[in-house]
Subunit: 222 residues, 2 copies
DNA sequence: TAAGTTTTTTAGATTAGCTTAAAAATGTTT
DNA sequence: AAACATTTTTAAGCTAATCTAAAAAACTTA
């Protein structure tokens, strides 16, 4: 019944995020890069997390979360994203400002608080970046989505999320007028540099680099 | 420009609270009691806080806060009380539940966040216990208030705060129907045990022990 | 003021989380 | 398979915050 520290929580979340992408478990390298810490510190922490049975750890091979470890990680993600909705919807922060504050708020410990916050916000299913919010049991609403770059000529879609979360990218999208729920239609595809021309909300035409179109998730209309 | 830890913040707040009451600075004993830690730990921390010039410290005498130390403490109080208003007004927690959550939330670091929260809450001047909320510069709205036990016969007042903040006391007040803004009139005083009979909101008569009447602040009507 | 009690400080140790440097294991090339 | 490169682990040590036990200072009271 030993309690879990903020640092341990952050390691679990890092492992969770890495395992979402990579199939083979999280490597020491990947974790130390993400946590901006030394490989030795990671090994140290992995041993502690293994002793608490929060991860499956064997020397010299990638780690994965146990059922309990994953429950903690998804709960953190749930809290993070609900706080992001609060910051954006209630306190009017923009989507490029909310992450660092939510990073602190996610460690506040109270089931009751987070459940009441969820109710207060109207049981949102997605955060301001379009990422799904896990429910109390860690289940997430999955959505039919694809990259904007994969649109066919003339096809219409709605922006539902972003892959890249950096403040600079999000600010750039704001500058372009690209927000969640924007309607986009593919007008032209330039093979030369993989850039695309889109019609935004049935109004102006916009030219997007491959880097931009490969970091925006859309849902095909209908 | 070294940053300040959550633990250091808690010590500063403890010293601030003690100095509010005692005139002569906070003793090691008073701090260790309030922080529920050993006297040795306190001495240790006092040296560190002194080195950071957050307190005035001399061996074997009570400590006081420097201007900077006091600024940090009042800012913590400001954050604590604003979060308490949020928890009570927006998430519908009762006044006996909010303190432990606010104790965590007060350590979230963002000026912008707390200022927007203040705006969102409508710039409240008092928290759900009737305690004043410091503004950005640490100034508090003082209020003409006195203990319910000091009412004269027939005199009318409004409940504006409590001195004791324990959950059991607050729950007891709820049971009695005594909430902030209740109207009370002194009906009778019993010298024998210092208990008082009051009329609540012009309706029912209520008998209060000295312990209760000495922990409720009222404002004389008019 | 001398004796006794309480408070405060010092000394020495512990734990979590981190570091660097070196050793060991694993992966990659030729 | 041998040589090199990379990754992971071990070893030793640091800091913040804590502890207990003992020493020192301050107060209380006969």
């Amino acid at each position: 019944m030993d309690s879990i520290s903020v640092t341990e929580e952050n390691y679990l979340k890092a492992i969770y995020k890495i395992c979402e992408k990579e199939e083979k478990g999280a490597s020491n390298k990947a974790i130390s890069t993400r946590m901006d810490t030394s490989a030795a510190s990671v090994t140290d922490m992995l041993k502690r997390l293994a002793k608490k049975e929060l991860i499956h750890y064997e020397k010299h091979s990638g780690v994965t979360l146990t059922r309990e470890g994953r429950a903690i990680a998804t709960h953190l993600v749930r809290k993070h994203r609900l706080w992001e909705v609060f910051l954006a919807d209630k306190l009017n922060f923009s989507w490029d400002e909310i992450h660092p504050m939510a990073e602190e708020l996610e460690h506040i410990n109270s089931e009751e608080l987070i459940n009441r916050l969820e109710k207060f916000l109207g049981y949102p299913k997605f955060d301001p970046h379009g990422d799904p919010i896990p429910d109390e049991e860690g289940r997430i609403t999955t959505r039919q989505q694809m990259l904007l770059s994969k649109l066919e000529m003339g096809e219409k879609g709605t922006i539902v999320g972003v892959q890249e979360h950096s403040a600079t990218f999000l600010q750039y999208l704001d500058r372009l007028g690209l927000t969640l729920d924007s309607q986009v239609t593919l007008v032209e595809k330039f093979e030369y540099d993989q850039s695309v021309k889109i019609k935004l909300n049935g109004m102006l035409d916009l030219l997007l680099s491959d880097k931009v179109s490969n970091n925006i998730f859309i849902k095909i209309n209908g």
